[in-house]
């Protein structure tokens, strides 16, 4: 592994439950003492079920959620400190793609405007003509025709919208992209295309990924290392092959077992049903 790009050390996130008028407040620990490193150009998968704390971890990395304790370092900068000092620089260096492709794009803007926003604010590309040219390049990079620039998000299919989100994330040439369930809402055929695209983009640009997902079969295809989270804690970590082929933790085994396999002879929820 090359030098670490992102270092998450002893990350803890607590949420205070109850309303403002509630007498008794319960504290929910969403993330419990999580540590992992992502090398430059690496893809790290964070896997777990809903409520395991994987999305909260991703939000902390993005600077959208303040950790209760622990540290997140990007290169030589502390993310929390960078967020206060120069949020534009933080966002230029760490970008994100979210789960819901259409809802991730402002329905009131054209794709050209959506791509121009980070170019203008994070890269300082004020000239609209230059931003448009760069927008065409970005669409080209995610294998979309340039006429998509003048469309609105509601005119795009899920797969196309997700490519636009990826193009927007690439706009500021970040060193890390957080992909939060970025392919979960896509159907199988589109999902395969987007996974391949993400792999190609990593090869072409050297960007690192923090890939958050629940389906180990998908995560395995994109990531070098995988961390498994359960109830806020990192229960297992290793290379993709280690985690998928010789899991050490019971929870990892359960997660692996739950992945549906497209072969009726392997394992089947429905046994021996015969139709008349």
């Amino acid at each position: 592994m090359t030098g670490s790009l992102l270092r998450v050390e002893n990350l803890v996130v607590e949420f205070r439950g109850g309303g403002a008028f509630a007498l008794r407040r319960e504290t929910v620990t969403a993330v419990k003492d999580v540590s992992f490193h992502i090398g430059a150009g690496d893809a790290y998968g964070l896997v777990g079920e809903s409520g395991s704390g994987k999305t909260t971890t991703g939000r902390c990395v993005l600077g959208l959620q303040a950790p209760t304790s622990g540290s997140i370092t990007l290169g030589t900068d502390d993310v929390g400190e960078l967020r206060k000092r120069d949020p534009q620089l933080l966002h230029q260096r760490i970008q994100a793609v979210f789960q819901n492709p259409i809802a991730s794009l402002n329905p009131a803007m054209t794709v050209a405007r959506i791509l121009a926003e980070p170019l203008r604010r994070l890269v300082g590309m004020k000239d609209p003509a230059a931003a448009r040219t760069r927008g065409e390049e970005l669409l080209d990079a995610v294998r979309l025709p340039t006429d998509v620039l003048d469309r609105r998000p509601t005119e795009l299919s899920g797969g196309m919208a997700q490519r636009v989100s990826i193009a927007r994330a690439l706009a500021s040439s970040p060193s890390l992209i957080v992909l939060d369930e970025a392919v979960s809402a896509l159907d199988v055929a589109t999902q395969a295309q987007v996974i391949n695209l993400l792999a190609d983009l990593r090869d072409e640009t050297g960007v690192s990924y923090l890939f958050i997902g629940h389906d180990l079969a998908v995560v395995r295809h994109l990531c070098d290392r995988i961390g498994v989270m359960s109830q806020g804690a990192l229960v297992e970590e290793g290379t993709a092959d280690q985690v998928c082929h010789s899991p050490q933790d019971d929870y990892t085994r359960r997660l692996l077992d739950a992945v549906p396999v497209p072969d009726p002879t392997v394992k089947r929820v429905r046994h021996g049903h015969t139709t008349r």
Partner: protein
């Protein structure tokens, strides 16, 4: 602007707009329209009826009523503009701010708004006028203030619903400062409801202005307003009954025009991009229907009768959806049979027509989407195509249960889960309140919800995704259906929860001998739970058969490609197999095989003419491919 065009093309948009244009013209140029000086008294002609000289007659001072009604358009328009702009200037920023900032700001401002709202509006307006003194402008300040409370509520509500959308998060990551997020991301997405609210506010302001003037709190004499004209008319209407008509009609028509326009705007905006139903939008929005101008009518190739042994027998189902180039079939001649207790998977990519097919069977197609009359859907011996909405609701209430993809969106967030479970039991099955509660407890228990009696009092948001889907399943079971239609019921769930829900569904089908039509894009799920599968592509079934055979030896090139694109845990290939190109839209006219343009094995004959679904050797399987058709013939 597209919205404006669509409003103008409807009579409910044109007529109000014409009337409002007339009123607007009168307000801008009263001297052009008026025939007399509105304030010139003529004691020679007091209280005259309508005539050529005085179109609407004269009042008690001999003033020309027509000219006064025309002249009064200006204070009415001014009043509306003042009050509505004050309401927007005050309400918009406050609503945006408290909605976005949340926390204490939100709580305090909204409590104050609620408190003021609880007072009767007109009385509050009186109070403000009493403090500021009479006069139209003062009256409109007070009305504007009152209406700003409505705007605050509306805007805050919309901000709250949009605030959590990922595109807002993405805007922040793009470096947009808060003011930009508010002005460029939130505001434009709220324009529709705001415009509707503003239009309707105009109507309400007119009524309040008329009422205040009627009571002498608005415009002062001698200037005319419609309200003050009505007040003056009161003393003389016994002997001169036409006198209140002109100002009365002016008020009524203008208010009606604003309200109708508001309604029309709302309808148009609701049907526009971003609103409306999912199925037709996909076709329209993607502009997939290039070239084709007429809807290709699916060839009626199958005249086979429904299977009498089947619980559900669908024959030649075609569903017509609107596209940018006119109506087109999203489903083209689908045949599906489900025997009692059988689980059949309907598999395909987005745009394959699988969900539209399922909705057609359930009679839940969105407005504008229709079943071709040549289609037959036999359920339990009854033909469902052509049933009235009421009869269809009865079939759903007693024989077919539905489960949808997003459980939290399918449940009403404002009602307890217990209420939503018990309500249909009381309506469809005539159970008493106590019996319905007991049955609800039984149902929740059956789907594996712990502490069912306590959980009945919970609201949907208190359930996790998996538990909410169990509640949906319980609701589907309530009618003791013989058929469950499940549309991607586990797609929104993570793999571990998905597995639990799948296990539950299979167990329920076995125990209660229900059949299930399972719609999914996930071949893994099909392999795990289905007995048979129908692979759909671009509106057609391309392959059907027993899952064991279908997965072992997929026949159609599309089935093979789809199967190859599934990421596997134990395959060492780093790159996934992808299918080049995209699914053709409903309106695209393709003479030959609809998959040919993406098929690696396509040859000239594939594009020459329609390809039929042929039964493969071995009986229970069929495939829509020329290659397999040739193989069958060779074998025969």
């Amino acid at each position: 602007m597209a919205v404006l065009r669509r409003v103008v093309t409807r009579p409910s948009g044109t007529i109000p707009l014409i009337w409002l244009a007339v009123v607007g013209f009168c307000a801008l140029f009263p001297t052009v329209v008026a025939t007399h000086d509105p304030n010139a008294a003529d004691f020679a002609s007091l209280l005259e009826g309508p005539s050529g000289a005085h179109y609407f007659g004269t009042d008690e001072l001999g003033r020309d009523t027509f000219s006064r009604v025309v002249d009064a358009a200006r204070p009415a328009a001014l009043a509306g503009l003042q009050a509505v702009s004050i309401s927007l200037i005050l309400g918009l920023p406050i609503g945006l701010f408290v909605g976005y900032a949340g926390g204490w700001w939100d709580r305090i401002v909204m409590r104050v708004v609620d408190a003021i709202f609880s007072l009767p509006g007109l009385i509050l307006a009186f109070a403000i006028v009493a403090i500021l003194g009479p006069g139209l402008t003062n009256a409109m300040y007070s009305v504007g203030f009152l209406f700003s409370l409505r705007v605050i509520r509306l805007v805050r509500g919309m901000v709250l619903s949009v605030r959590e959308e990922p595109f807002i998060e993405a805007a922040r990551l793009s470096g947009a400062p808060t003011t930009t997020v508010l002005g460029r991301y939130l505001l434009p997405n709220m324009m529709g409801p705001l415009i509707v609210q503003t239009t309707i506010s105009f109507a309400a302001v007119l009524i309040i202005e008329a009422a205040l003037s009627f009571l002498g709190l608005g415009v002062q004499q001698p200037d005319a307003t419609w309200g003050s004209m009505l007040r003056d008319a009161r003393s003389f209407q016994r002997d001169n009954p036409w006198i209140p008509w002109p100002p009365g009609l002016a008020i009524t028509l203008t208010v009606l025009a604003f309200n109708t326009l508001g309604d029309t705007l709302r309808d148009v905006l609701a049907a526009g991009p971003g609103g409306g139903s999912k199925a037709p939008r996909r076709g329209v929005a993607l502009g997939l229907a290039d070239g084709a101008t007429t809807a290709a009518r699916p060839a009626v190739d199958d005249t086979a009768d429904p299977d009498p042994e089947a619980l559900l027998s669908v024959r030649n189902l075609s569903v017509i959806v609107p596209t940018s180039t006119g109506p087109a079939p999203a489903v083209r001649g689908l045949d599906v049979d489900l025997r009692p207790g059988e689980i059949v998977g309907l598999v395909g990519e987005s745009g394959s027509g699988k969900t539209v097919s399922a909705l057609a069977v359930a009679g839940l197609l969105p407005r504008g989407v229709t079943i071709d009359p040549g289609s037959r859907i036999h359920f339990d011996g009854q033909q469902l195509v052509g049933l009235t909405e009421a009869r269809m609701a009865q079939v759903r209430g007693t024989g077919i249960g539905m489960i949808f993809q997003d459980p939290t969106a399918s449940l009403n967030p404002a009602l307890t889960v217990g209420y939503q479970l018990a309500e249909p039991l009381r309506i469809h099955h005539g159970l008493s309140r106590a019996a319905a509660t007991d049955r609800s407890v039984e149902l929740l228990d059956r789907v594996g919800v712990a502490n069912p009696r306590e959980r009945l009092r919970d609201y949907p948001h208190q359930f996790s995704g998996g538990m909410a889907q169990r509640v949906m399943i319980a609701m589907a079971l309530a009618s003791e259906p013989s058929l469950i239609i499940a549309d991607e019921p586990t797609t929104a769930l993570d793999v571990t929860t998905q597995r639990q829900v799948l296990e539950l569904l299979v167990e329920l089908c076995d125990d209660l001998s229900m059949a299930m039509l399972f719609i999914t894009h996930d071949l893994g799920v099909v392999a795990e739970i289905c007995d048979r599968a129908v692979v759909m592509y671009a509106g057609q079934a391309v392959e059907t058969g027993d899952v064991h055979e279908l997965f072992a030896t997929p026949d159609h090139p599309y089935s093979r490609a789809l199967l190859a694109s599934v990421p596997l845990l134990d395959d060492d290939e780093d790159r996934l197999v992808t299918i080049p190109g995209r699914v053709p839209g409903p309106g695209e006219q393709i003479v030959g095989c609809r998959f040919a343009s993406r098929c690696e094995q396509a040859h000239d004959a594939c594009a020459a003419g329609p390809v039929d679904l042929v039964t493969l050797a071995g009986g229970d399987r069929s495939s829509r491919c020329l290659l397999s058709a040739a193989a069958v013939e060779d074998g025969a």
